[in-house]
């Protein structure tokens, strides 16, 4: 799909929905957003997402559609992403968790960690990768002392995260979990 700023700004809700259900179109739209820095467009997109979350259409979104809110990155977009963590729709939670970790994993860590115990593998996988990718030794205490630290699902994701962090301290902690 060929996209430009004029087309996007004129799009109605259903056309917009087509874009955010297709990963390639989402990525194209991201480049336009970042290049243009157009506040009107950003606000329209945020309102579009607000109108769609919690409705049947939400299920059509691909997890990457949440990247759009990360690329916008203003307070409204971040507030919306945080609210998505409790969505109950795995694709939405996974996408939002991934994006928030990319924006600032330390600030959002308390909100992200409980998702490592989520029932959905997509939610756990995306969030674990994000934390592991950004992570360092400063994450170890938060993981060790988390109320879910002894839960099986959380523990398995912790093992994965610690492997990605890969420092001596992380690997020692990982070994202790495996024993």
């Amino acid at each position: 799909m060929k996209l430009d700023i004029d087309e996007i700004i004129e799009l109605d809700k259903s056309s917009f929905l087509k874009i955010v259900t297709n990963t390639r179109s989402v990525v194209k739209m991201g480049a336009i957003l970042l290049k243009q820095n157009n506040k009107v467009l950003e606000s329209r997109i945020i309102n579009f997402f607000r109108s769609i979350f919690g409705t049947k259409s939400e299920k059509k979104l691909c997890p990457e559609s949440l990247f759009i809110l990360g690329w916008i990155g203003n307070d409204d977009a971040i507030e919306l992403l945080v609210s998505c963590l409790k969505s109950g729709e795995p694709k939405i939670q996974a996408g939002a968790g991934f994006v928030l970790a990319q924006i600032d994993e330390i600030s959002f860590l308390d909100l992200l960690l409980p998702l490592l115990n989520d029932r959905s593998t997509i939610v756990r996988g995306w969030v674990a990768f994000s934390i592991g990718w950004c992570g360092g030794n400063y994450h170890l205490e938060a993981l060790r002392n988390h109320p879910y630290a002894t839960h099986k699902r959380f523990k398995n994701e912790m093992i994965e995260i610690l492997k990605m962090i890969g420092t001596r301290e992380a690997l020692e902690f990982r070994t202790s979990l495996l024993q």
């Binding site: 995306w126 990718w133 990605m164 890969g166």
Partner: protein, 186 residues
């Protein structure tokens, strides 16, 4: 050659695309000094990048990266700069890149990147930290795709020139970069 003499040339792109190795080659071919941002950051901090991440976290790394980029952008003579793979993530860095140079986005599809990352892991004496990290753990293909999708728009948004590096030799890519830089249309 019509390469603009007053500007830096910045190479941006995902980990494994070859910013550093191509940067070295292109700089030799066009006679500009080469600057590798990651090496500058390591020099500034006195520790390897993986250790900066491990000790202080990504946000500290990004702040150092921003100040290193500003100092490079103010170099009196133009240079060819290999940026870090996350440099364009910050808005302030994107502003610096586009206002002080010509930005070349080196693109590659996920399978090319994985091949190069694996090659680097097995053959380089010092494979990059992010390549090690990306290949760790389960489902790394999916993860590379994911991270690449999140980062692509940042690269696209600053690029004056975008060049695909898939199925091309280093020398061919370098020639193409130089040709495009020299073109008045870019």
């Amino acid at each position: 050659m019509i390469i603009r003499k007053e500007n830096h040339i910045y190479l941006v792109g995902f980990t494994g695309v070859g910013k550093t190795s191509l940067g070295k080659l292109i700089s030799k071919m066009i006679g500009l000094p080469f600057v590798d941002m990651d090496s500058r950051i390591e020099k500034e901090m006195g520790i390897p990048i993986y250790e900066i991440f491990a000790r202080y976290g990504e946000s500290v790394f990004r702040s150092v990266e921003t100040s290193v980029l500003v100092s490079i952008s103010k170099l009196p003579e133009p240079a060819l700069v290999a940026t870090g793979n996350g440099t364009p993530l910050r808005k302030t860095n994107r502003g610096t890149l586009v206002s002080t140079g010509t930005v070349v986005y080196l693109k590659a599809n996920s399978s090319t990147l994985i091949k190069r990352l694996k090659y680097s892991q097995n053959h380089d004496a010092h494979p990059s930290d992010s390549s090690e990290l990306l290949l760790k753990g389960k489902h790394y293909r999916k993860r590379i795709q994911l991270l690449k999708r999140f980062r692509e728009p940042y690269y696209e948004s600053v690029a004056n020139i975008a060049i695909s590096t898939d199925d091309k030799s280093k020398r061919d890519i370098a020639r193409e970069v130089i040709q495009r830089l020299a073109s008045p249309m870019q």
